[in-house]
């Protein structure tokens, strides 16, 4: 069973529907207790980093994520903002502490040619997979996914598994042990996005890590 964390932000309905279509059994949970029974945890998110972290604190999810993801090593998939939470900190509208599960900082996109490459980076873009990752099994060499974001997680080089180009290299996916993060929206990326979610669900069922 996959626990989908509802901390009051983000397109929970879309993610839930996509998970169901990918064959998952889903528990949408607004309380940390919901993480206990889960085989895997998904944190979606749309919105500002500081609001998101504040909501995770307020709803008591921070401690639960440390327990279930850092200590118990349950597979975690962060989508968009949910990926950025993994960082040490974010520079979105100030400096904000992240979950600090992975090294690196969330930074504003700064394409060289600002006329040609707009912010937010919105639309379908090709992802170059930089190393094999179980999340991307069966999606081909250069899958195309749907992005909407103005900031990205400048993660440690060793943790990056995919980048895309938007006037600069943009971190599209990270992976370290049981921690997965994708900057794009698999729930809006049609077949290949559903494949990514299916892969994550398989990892979660297999008691990975």
């Amino acid at each position: 069973m996959i626990a989908l964390v509802d901390y009051g932000m983000g397109n929970i309905r879309s993610v839930r529907n996509a998970l169901v279509a990918a064959g998952a059994e889903v528990l949408v949970t607004a309380t940390p207790e919901g993480l206990k029974e889960a085989g895997g945890i998904i944190v979606p998110g749309v919105g500002a980093f500081s609001d998101g972290m504040a909501n995770l604190h307020r709803t008591g999810f921070i401690g639960a994520l440390q327990e279930q993801v850092l200590a118990a090593k349950k597979p975690y998939l962060g989508i968009c903002l949910g990926m950025q939470f993994l960082a040490e900190k974010s520079l979105e509208g100030g400096t904000w502490q992240g979950l600090n599960f992975l090294k690196g900082t969330v930074e504003r996109l700064a394409p060289v040619d600002k006329e040609k490459f707009k912010i937010p980076h919105m639309g379908w873009n090709k992802v170059e997979l930089t190393r094999p990752c179980p999340l991307f099994e069966g999606v081909g060499e250069n899958p195309v996914f749907y992005f909407v974001h103005s900031y990205h997680f400048a993660a440690h080089r060793d943790d990056v598994t995919g980048i895309c180009r938007h006037g600069q290299p943009v971190v599209a996916a990270v992976w370290k042990e049981n921690l997965f993060g994708v900057q794009f929206h698999p729930e809006k990326s049609q077949g290949l996005g559903l494949k990514v979610l299916e892969n994550f669900c398989r990892l979660a069922e297999g008691g990975h890590g």
């Binding site: 509802d6 397109n11 309905r13 879309s14 839930r16 529907n17 996509a18 998970l19 169901v20 279509a21 990918a22 064959g23 059994e25 889903v26 528990l27 949408v28 949970t29 607004a30 309380t31 207790e33 919901g34 006329e115 490459f117 707009k118 937010p120 980076h121 919105m122 639309g123 379908w124 873009n125 090709k126 081909g140 195309v144 749907y146 992005f147 909407v148 180009r165 938007h166 729930e187 809006k188 990326s189 049609q190 077949g191 290949l192 996005g193 559903l194 494949k195």
Partner: protein
Amino acid sequence: MVKKRLIPSLLVRNGRIIQSVNFRHTNVIGNAFTAVDFFNTWAVDEIIILDISPNRDFKEKFLEIVAGLSERCFVPLTVGGWIQSKEDIRKALVSGGDKVCINSEACKRPEFVTEASETFGSQCIVISVDVRGTSPETYQVYSEHAKTATGLHPTEWAREVEKRGAGEIYLTSVDHDGSRKGYDLQLVRGVAEAVTIPVIAFGGVGHWEHMVEGITKGKAEAVSAANIFHFTEHSTKKAKEFLIAAGIDMRETYFYKVNQPRKITYEVNYRV
């Protein structure tokens, strides 16, 4: 570099997808779900669904359809028609939309574009611009289902909504709607060159080549059509293949067998 996009537009009146010719509604096509399952199977990049009912009375029914679609639609979904307040936007998003499409209310109250983009973000706000006329001298923006002249010129209006925070422009030539003679390329190009935000061209596609022209000659970022998709088998797949073969940088088809139970199975453990 983001890909160019293929976007079917679904026009819904009283819960039925319909066909439109010069904004007069002709044939009833049928059930919205069938159409979307069909588009999902083949690689469309987004879906725009518009409530073109004659009044707000069908809004609830329409949002039910939107909610149903969002259970089956795994591409971005833009919801439009009768968006007149921030509350209307919120309802459209809660029902499963990713973006909203605003037309008449923006013409009536341009500051609504500013309010909407400040509250929901530019990426969420698509401004629909309906244009009558056949040359730059005669072009004029119309609102209220293309019935009311606004006195606005499309390029000026496009620049203004961009300045007010619109994320995209959905541009329709009313005179080309349903004509099958292709987009009004002069109009599309004029607007696309006036702004830096993406322009979605709509109205008049009678052949896939028209979509290629919309991008190469009209400089549109995305091409949309409605009627043509309803009468051609595997139509969106064929359109996509045609566009890619013509050298347009688009996402290719990837087939995924969706596990789509009749009744969605999930649990919600909300603290109330």
